[in-house]
Structures are given as C-alpha cells and as structure tokens.
Symmetry: C2
Subunit: 204 residues, 2 copies
C-alpha cells in the first residue's frame, strides 16, 4: 500500500516462513524487506520512512514531520492492541492455512511465545471477540469526522491499521468486525484504495 501510495512501480513477492533466511543471501531476518537498487531496507516502519525520504516529490505518507512523529503512536497502538488482539483470535486458523513445510516452525515458535498450544490460545474466541471490538473504539471515534485517519485522503496511519485487519481477513474466516457498520465501511474504503489493491487478496 505504501509503495502504491507513492506511485512506485514494484514487484511484490510473497514468501514462506522457511524461505525468509534465504532472501538477499541471508541479510534479511524478517519481512517485509525492500530492495531498491543498492539499498536494502527491512521492517515496515523503516521502509515507510525510507520511501518518504527517498521519494519526497511523490505523495507523502505522513503529511509532514508532525505527521511522521505522531504516526509512530498509531503504529504502537496497532502492534500493542490490534495485532496482539487479533493473533489471539486467529492463530490456529493461521497454522491451518500455512503450507505444510511451515507448520512445525510456526507452531513451535508461537507456542513457545504464548506458553500454550495454538488451539488453547484461540479457544473461546466467540466470547473474547467483543473485547477486541471494544478496543477498536479509538479508530471508530477518529473516523467519525473524516473518511481516513489521514483526513480526506489516506496516509500511512491508515495502512497501519488496515494491515492488521487485512491480515485477519485473508488468513481467517472468523468475523472479527461482524455487524460493525462504521469499521466495515472504513475497511471497505481501504480495500477500494489504489484500484482495489486490497481486494486483490481474497478473504479466507
């Protein structure tokens, strides 16, 4: 979304967990990673900042220095609230949809992190999804006055929050936002962005 926002032609390559170690001759430990000529940039936040600095004449991802600073808070919220809330609802669904070669790695590392089986982590999600929906209240309120967190147009802050929900939408059939009109509308607006780029990835 950030690359397309900037109008930069690019080739996107999906990868498996087991293949990450081989990317760029072992220089990359995590994805996303961006190769741009001589530059290799790893981590989505670092990539967004790189794109903003390297392509200042293209549409801005932050809308100025204050926007970049404050977007860091949206990123923190996305990680601490949205992603961590979502993973506890869909982690076993993720495992089910992984290619067989990645399943052992994923189960071992995630069960170590949670101290429970993936199925135990995900259990009772029908009762817990209400807490996740409640935790999205800041998003609902912020979107009452404008179609995007960036205002009339999306900024990187929108892609941050969108990324979490798109991740859940494409990897799990569980209805995270069911019957949540305002957020469904907002998700729809993001899926429509950049010629429906988000819709190109089908729902699970």
């Amino acid at each position: 979304m950030a690359l397309t926002h900037k109008g930069l032609e690019h080739e996107a390559r999906a990868t498996r967990f087991g293949e990450i170690a081989a990317i760029e001759g072992g220089e990359v430990k995590t994805v996303p990673a961006l190769r741009d000529g001589a530059r290799l940039v790893v981590d989505s936040w670092a990539i967004a900042r790189y794109l903003e600095e390297a392509y200042p004449e293209r549409p801005s991802l932050f809308g100025g220095p204050g926007g970049e600073a404050v977007t860091r808070f949206v990123q923190s919220w996305t990680g601490a609230v949205l992603h961590s809330g979502l993973v506890s609802l869909i982690v076993a669904d993720i495992w089910q949809r992984l290619p067989p070669e990645d399943r052992d790695y994923f189960r071992r590392t995630r069960e170590q992190r949670f101290g429970r089986t993936l199925e135990e982590v995900q259990a009772g999600r029908e009762e817990r999804v209400g807490a996740l929906r409640a935790s999205l209240q800041p998003l609902r309120i912020a979107l009452q006055d404008a179609p995007f967190l960036g205002g009339a147009q999306p900024l990187y802050a929108d892609y941050l929050a969108f990324g979490g929900l798109q991740w859940a939408r494409t990897i799990s059939p569980f209805a995270v936002l069911a019957a949540d009109g305002p957020l469904q509308d907002w998700l729809g607006r993001r899926l429509d962005l950049h010629g429906g780029l988000g819709r190109a990835a089908p729902a699970a």
Copy 2:
C-alpha cells in the same frame, strides 16, 4: 499547554461546574472555552485547531496537515482509553475534592451516567489499575524512540495524553503510574515543559 506552546499571553481562569452556565453570558455549555477578541471557541480540539489557524507563524501544534489529521487518532485514544479508564479509578476522589456547591450536581450526573454510585464505580481500583497501566502500552512503545509523541519536541498529541494524567495527578492521590519508570519519566518531561507549567498545579 497549547496557548503556552504558541507563546500566546493569556489569562487562565479556573471555574466550578456550577459557574459554567454563567460564562460568556450563557454562550458556553462546556469548558475549556477560549475568548480571543471577537472570537469565542469552545472545546479543546476546536481551540487547538483555532490557535493553529489564527497563529500560523507561531510554533505549530501539529507539525503540518498530516500531523493534525493523525493527532485526531491520539485524541480518540485519549478519550476512549485513558480518560475513561482513569475516571473509573478516581471518580469518588474527584467528588471529595469538589467545592460543596458542586458535589450534588457532580454525583447526580455521574451516577446517572454510570448507573452506580461513585463509590461503587471506584471500588476495587487496586485490582483494576493494572488493566489501565496495560492499556497505556501504545504510549510506552511510542516513547521508546523519542522523548515526545511529537518527536524531539512536544506537539499537541503530547498535551492530549498529558492532560489525562495531569488531571488524575492533581485531583487524586491514587498512584496511577506507580513504579512505571518510562511513563513516569515522560510525565516528568511534560511537567517540566514551558518553565514547569504543569508542576504549577500541585499533586493531590
């Protein structure tokens, strides 16, 4: 904080709940309200936007249009998470510190809102304060890389989050942030801003 950030001389007047209806001949229903010559502006967000527009040559509160848009998310988070979390921990303390003339009004309106007595709302706060501290995780993460949400310097986003904690600090002796090093440091930096403006209001 916003007026001082802009370097604007002003007179701040505290008010009682019972006196709000008389401010500006009844034109004001809520505080804060700002009278600036012919203009009367009510609501802190509206005041911040007004100051930014009316005094563009002064230090910016948002750091550009993207900053203003994204700060709306910080404001939403502050209201939905910080303020609403804090009020359930200190609402009876607030009542205790109100002047006698305001106590009935405050108790009646707040108990109606909560559907319980103030003392019931506040009960068990020692067990619940952990949840509030956990909910501040986005703030902690965002402040790992920079001293302020605005980056090297504070922006209005900082005053938003500061406002809630300053409110709790000055109206209740309850230790909301006890033993929370990173957030204590950040609160200290904010209290020191603008010549210690925040410290001028004593802790409860």
